[in-house]
Amino acid sequence: MKAFEDEVRDMLRRRAEDVGPAAPPWRHLDATALQAPVPDAGRGRRLVAVAAAAALVVGLVGLRLAAKNDAPAPPAVGVTAQTQPPFDPATSSAVWPVGREGTPTSWFRTAFEEATRLHPPASDEPDEVALAYLRERFGTTAVTLDDGGRHDPPIVTYRWRSSGSTGHVYLRRIVLPMSFRLFGRAWVVVGATSDQLRITGVRAESGRLQFEVARHETTAAVARVHLPSGPTEVDLAEPRSIDVALDGPATIRVDLAHHALTEWRIDPPQPPPPGKPSANLEGILEVTPNLTLTQAAARFLRERFDLGEDLAVEPVGGSSLEVRYRSARIGSGTVRMGTTEQASIVVAVVGDGLMVESSTITDDARRVTLSSFLPGRVSVRLSSGTGKTIGRGSTSLPGVDMLAGLPVTMTDEPDPGTAPVAEFRVDGPRGTTVAVYCLIG
């Protein structure tokens, strides 16, 4: 046995040499500290966590540009010198995550990490990111920010100026969900507006994206509308209408060369994909004797979420132990069930569009990494086996293709021997969705 123990020692030493990390520089260690939950910190200090591999402009084909010589001028509303952008900076997807265009979803993790490593400025100073974005977009360094910005965590808004044009640029603070060793804070640009451009009549529905472009207090004759195939110039003598096919997320991006820019991302409404729970679904939420799977699922949902008649349930059918549900109050999703000879078991409620990638526990905190197809405010409440709340967390999720690391502040100890039950909830412009299951770890 002694010889075998030596074999094990040798193997371990040999394998330990497989990894040879160098201690990251102080900047990284310092950055990680920024993510540690701060006791008594207000919501403003909870770092919004969005790892951003943002959107490609997808499926814009069949551009149709038409002069509107006969049409009346569009109403004087839209993106001008306004304080409110035509998008919600708290939930809108990024147009420029950390120094370059978004990366495809399938490349998400590695591509994003590559981007953060190789393409500065994945900076923790929002003004650096704002300037880098504007300089890249304008192709010139002659861009300035007027002031220190308006800070409304996690959003920072700057007034920009370039060649006589002015506007606003909007950034949102992010935290990488897993690779936090790289940056404690980083900033993504979620949009920009120009006082010299009016974008009106934006509609994204029925497979079409439509909007109108007009100039405002400028003599610029031509605007560039950016499409996947490249920028297309349109004459601004009259307001121009844009009508393109829309098959997925798209970016509205219009500029006057080198001195005005309006850009934000459109995530058209789509049915959310099936939700994804964290890996383990071995916990039990409720055991109900003498009810069918569908009856037990409906009862659980009604009691948990105080639903009345506003609930439709139907079994998936076949040999499946799943029940589909739909409600105006909690959206749609699947109840995962188990069964014994005498009872139906509710294992999990998995709302459509809410994906929980992982959950981790440290000594005094828990971190959940999740993404949501539905933009909005996501919150999680952890409760003990007896229903007592033991932790909470919330953040904003920008929606499609985004991940967020959600720090959960633990307020009490879990009951020994029982897994905490996590209840997720996303409340946003597209409604509410929920998920409930045990987080074992």
């Binding site: 990894v19 260690l29 920024l34 993510q35 897993m178 992982s358 440290t362």
Partner: protein, 161 residues
């Protein structure tokens, strides 16, 4: 441009010098330990970073920083291992090989329970005494000895297949 920060981030100077020292001196060693405990190089660094964060946060109760970080690494690895094990069971998937070169003993290590694996790595790689392993794993010394004995037997059996 002068910036108005929206929060008050701690600066490096706010970290205890002793923790800095451990970080600079032992970071790589802890990553290697985490790797042996998990078998996943990408996870190892994450765990060590988490361990340092945890140590920093709990600094008031830290007596021996290096030991504290090491325990945090072990605990983190065990938590990760439990989740990974559950995930494998749930998905009925096999563990992806992390190396091209065949190494039966290394592969066999991956079949052990997280407690057996931790006990064996701590004993035979870190040379940690049984009582210390027991404290780290939150069990009795006899349990540690049993875990090591059974773990070695399982390794031997696995490679003799």
């Amino acid at each position: 441009m002068a910036m108005v920060s929206s929060s008050a981030p701690p600066s490096p100077s706010q970290w205890a010098p002793a923790l800095v020292q451990v970080y600079e001196a032992r970071y790589a060693a802890f990553v290697r330990l985490a790797y042996l405990l998990t078998g996943a190089p990408s996870v190892a660094e994450e765990l060590v970073q988490e361990a340092f964060i945890s140590t920093h946060r709990g600094w008031e109760r830290v007596r021996e920083p290096a030991a504290y970080v090491r325990t945090a690494v072990v605990n983190g690895a065990r938590s990760w291992g439990r989740r990974a094990q559950l995930e494998r069971v749930h998905r009925q998937a096999t563990v992806a090989p992390t190396h091209q070169e065949p190494d039966e003993l290394w592969d066999a290590l991956g079949t052990l329970s997280e407690r057996q694996r931790a006990a064996i790595v701590l004993r035979f790689y870190e040379d940690v005494p049984d009582d210390e392993i027991a404290r780290m794993l939150g069990c009795r010394q006899v349990t540690v000895r049993t875990a090591i004995h059974r773990g070695l037997a399982a390794l031997r059996k696995e490679i003799e297949r």
